[in-house]
Symmetry: C2
Subunit: 207 residues, 2 copies
DNA sequence: CAAATAGTGTCTCTAAGACACTATTCC
DNA sequence: GGAATAGTGTCTTAGAGACACTATTTG
């Protein structure tokens, strides 16, 4: 019988930062060889009998240092199978997305436009998965709810959409798109007053 | 270090049968335990350093007996990670699609509507992947070209669409959809005369 | 009131759906 | 000509895009 390929799980952790008005990707320096000290996506080897989402959570908690309660959603993206992607030998990488609602400590958060050089083929993984992430927003409920949280404004939704797709939609159009997302509705509530004046925005919430 | 989960590659091999006017899925009885003699998707364990499409080809050639030249396309679907899916122990299954242009021998071809009971969790894999396959038709060029081949009629396109989506579109509408597929065009050529009379259909070809 | 931000109404454009109508063949 | 199949023209509908206009706040 043929020896089997080890499987690693690498996670694209996304967080919406209302202050920065953008979506951020979490990376951290590697603690071990190879690529010790270089930035990388959080990743672990999949244990025997371990579920992908368990391994993904383990990677985010262990490598990024986020508390597991900060993870609001997780799911599959695709598999990368180039045999030379890891200098230690052929390894499969299953890329997952995860959404987080806090910044943690020691995490380097970067925009998807300006990802620093990463270890392994992680820049390629991010580049290949970026369009898949853009497709999830406002279509995949768990992803969208995990990223935006409960109680966000249309302006924040515009910011997140621009960060993931590269294009800023018109508010009226995005509002109609959001009204079609199951479980999402515009409430009569209004967000806190704005610093520079202006009409207070209403809040979107999940049922 | 934690022991790693073995990875199998299971392939949903699709073939368009103009005679049966439908899309067929290839399954074959298993030659070895567990589930010896029961029908299953063709699958193999991924070898060390092996690419997914190599392993997929090996599965189709070895388990279904198709010549490798009969495979016209191959690609990823998704990963199944339930630890109890294989009685021998936890195994990851990466599901692939493949398209074939010949029937081979000893292959049991079934429609996606009437898949017989299969070994492992293969019925679940087929059920979960069926909508993904429907999304590939007329959108993913390699899949569509692999499935339909070169030189097919609108009626055959209607049959394939109905088999994958469960819905038969109107010919005029499907024609417009097909004209938007990059590389596909309606030619001035006409197919051979029909058995029961009728206007000879024109042929669609890839550039 | 001016600046700043939020939200609405409506025209347009594209793709899909529905369906009546015309075209070409065999018998 | 009649049965059978192929293909076209066009109305309708849903969703995205564009953009002018109105609304509500701070200072």
């Amino acid at each position: 019988m043929i020896e089997s390929t080890p499987v690693s799980v690498d996670v694209l952790v996304l967080r919406f930062d209302p202050g920065a008005r953008t979506v951020l990707l979490g990376v951290a320096p590697r603690a071990a060889e190879p690529f010790r000290g270089e930035l990388a996506l959080p990743g672990v080897l999949l244990g025997l009998g371990e579920r992908l989402r368990e391994a993904g959570t383990r990677a985010v908690v262990g490598k990024l240092g986020l508390p597991s309660a900060a993870l609001t959603g997780i799911g599959q993206l695709r598999t990368f199978d180039e045999p030379s992607r890891d200098p230690r030998g052929p390894t499969l990488s299953i890329a997952l997305w995860a959404t987080a609602n806090s910044a943690g400590e020691g995490v380097r958060w970067c925009t998807l436009d300006e990802v620093p050089p990463l270890a392994f083929d992680h820049n390629r993984i991010v580049a290949d998965c970026a369009p898949l992430l853009a497709d999830l927003l406002w279509r995949h409920v768990e992803f969208t709810a995990g990223l935006m949280g409960n109680g966000f404004t249309t302006a924040q939704a515009l910011d997140a959409t621009e960060a993931l797709t590269g294009d800023r939609p018109y508010p009226a159009n995005l509002g109609r798109t959001m009204e079609r997302v199951p479980g999402l509705r515009r409430t009569a509530e209004h967000a806190a007053a704005l610093p520079k004046g202006g009409r207070p925005p209403s809040l979107w919430r999940w049922d």
